[in-house]
């Protein structure tokens, strides 16, 4: 049996939760005060994901960079690979909000899209 400790992010209570796992499957969540904590704990220990937000270099625009995000959350352990891909990317102005800047970034299935219009 494996045990993982984590803090709930649902509200300012910040419950200290403990998750028990049996061969990668959650068998018990303790320490949470509400259902949201339980759901968060199960997802966080089995499949933690994040939306990544950053900037990429922009050529010929009114600003030297444009802000971007992944179109959906990606596995937490892919954040580094995603950032590496963004470092190597240069967009060309003008960029419209929602434009795809990198397709299927680092093989995650998520695109990287612009979050700002820069002329």
């Amino acid at each position: 049996m494996e045990r993982k400790e984590l803090i709930c992010i649902g509200c300012p209570m910040g419950c200290m939760m403990s998750v028990e796992l049996e061969q990668g499957k959650v068998t018990a969540v303790t320490g949470n005060t509400c259902k949201r904590g339980d759901a968060y704990a199960r997802k966080e220990v089995t499949d933690p994901t994040r939306i990544v937000t950053s900037t990429v270099k922009l050529r010929g625009g009114q600003y030297p960079v444009v802000s971007v995000k992944t179109s959906k959350d990606i596995p937490k352990d892919m954040i580094e690979a995603c950032m590496k891909a963004l470092k190597e990317t240069e967009a060309k102005a003008p960029v419209e909000i929602g434009d795809v800047i990198v397709e299927n970034v680092a093989g995650t299935g998520a695109d990287v899209v612009a979050t700002k219009t820069v002329l």
Partner: protein, 422 residues
């Protein structure tokens, strides 16, 4: 001199929402004056997500949230001037502003909406000893440099203050390749959201040292290191607990202060707790026709609530203009007072107008309170008694006050917002 019905000072989230709601209430001559080169204010540099859950029921980044409001402002045909700095507002509402195209100019307004936002508390206000080398930035300055100017302010970073901007910048600098060595917080609790502690610090194994502060900064030309020490209950450094971190950058995230130089110039009454103007339930300051909303009024945690509040201020300004620069008044005035753990309330007074059914009262508590009740008394009678599992200084509280409760009291009175033990 040009004349407008409403002049909005500041084109950030508060100014945009206020202008939009005033326009939709039927005021046609509105102008927004913004000192930056685009609308949107601080949202433009807040490229992380988490904005808009209340307003749009989806998670947006700051620039996306700003773009939605800016697009609405343009669609409504509301006038705005960019790169324009307001230097003075007179009590009779003559606004003095300048930009590089028109030089110095004046605008006469029937109503003014103050929406200038807030400013970060700078090093000078923190009493940190040591030299004044390069490499010390407020967290928001670093955020602008990285996210808008595309410039990294340093490689090895120590952050003082665990407010949300500091936490967000810990992650941002890490993602951009810097080494964030530690975040120090003077208080025994973080001022930031739990979500940011987990996703900005723990995800990247950045240590958070509570009850710690900076006692020395090394380096003469450029920061070479920062010494932290643990503090006692009175927040005084404890000798012998010093630890030195080598770094080239110190970011300060030590609180925000409403930017009210213009408000003071008009002569509106100020609240010493919020450092913002005193307002009534209509967001009107002590000067008739001058309204305030957003972070210039009191510092918020969520932009969604800024937009809500500003929409209320915009509606009131519209009502004032459309009623020939006055308000319909039906009831008496009631002072709203903060007591027993409640630091302040916005508004500071309310008055029934026979129109509004509900009045939102926002406030902050001064410490972490578990299992306490929020209680509201009107002329000694308890009307609200609501249990909260936890309240913290970092999270603004809100309650709805039923305006019908005021009707038995034609002479006005006192509303007390306080905390009570379970």
């Amino acid at each position: 001199m040009e004349t407008y019905d409403i002049v909005v000072i500041g084109g950030g989230p508060a100014g945009l929402a206020a202008a939009l709601s005033a326009k939709r209430k039927g005021v046609s001559r509105i102008i927004i004056l913004e000192r930056d080169r685009e609308l949107g204010g601080i949202l433009n540099q807040c490229i992380h997500n988490g904005f808009g859950l209340h307003t749009f029921q989806e998670e947006l980044t700051g620039p996306e949230y700003a773009a939605r409001f800016a697009a609405e402002v343009k669609r409504e045909g509301i006038a705005f001037l960019l790169d324009t700095m307001v230097t003075d507002i007179s009590p009779d509402k003559i606004v003095t502003a300048m930009n590089s195209r028109e030089g110095l100019f004046h605008i006469s307004a029937k109503a003014v909406i103050l929406a200038m936002g807030c400013r970060e508390r700078p090093r000078g206000a923190l009493n940190i000893p040591g030299y004044r080398p390069a490499g010390i930035y407020s967290a928001g300055t670093a955020q602008r440099l990285v996210n808008i100017e595309g410039y990294m302010p340093g490689r090895e970073v120590v952050i003082l203050g665990s407010g949300d901007i500091g936490l967000i910048m810990a992650r941002r600098m890490t993602l951009e390749g810097a080494k964030v060595k530690v975040v120090a917080e003077l208080m025994p609790y973080s001022g930031g959201l739990k979500r940011n502690i987990v996703q900005c610090l723990e995800d990247y194994k950045i240590p958070l040292k509570l009850s710690h502060t900076v006692v020395d900064i090394q380096g003469k030309e450029r920061v070479r290191g920062v010494t932290l020490a643990k503090v006692d209950q009175d927040r005084n450094p404890i000798p012998g607990t010093e630890e030195t971190y080598s770094c080239d950058t110190l970011l300060l995230s030590c609180g925000l202060v409403p930017e009210n130089e213009l408000s003071r110039g008009i002569g509106v009454f100020m609240n010493p707790v919020t450092s913002g103007p005193v307002v009534n339930g209509r967001f009107q300051t002590s000067v008739a026709g001058v309204f305030a909303c957003g972070n210039v009024l009191h510092v918020h945690d969520l932009v969604d609530f800024v937009s809500q509040e500003a929409a209320g201020a915009g509606e009131s300004a519209a009502e004032y203009v459309l009623c020939g620069c006055s308000f319909k008044k039906e009831g008496a005035d009631f002072q709203v007072k903060a007591q027993g753990g409640v630091r302040y309330t916005v508004p500071s007074s309310i008055c029934s107008d026979g129109v509004r059914q509900q009045q939102t009262i926002r406030f902050r508590v001064g410490d972490v309170y578990k299992n306490h009740f929020i209680a509201v008394y009107l002329n000694g009678k308890r009307l609200i008694h609501k249990k909260r599992q936890i309240m913290a200084p970092g999270e603004m509280e809100e309650l709805n006050f039923d305006m019908n409760w005021l009707s038995p009291y034609p002479d006005g009175g006192e509303i007390i917002v306080t905390l009570e033990e379970a």
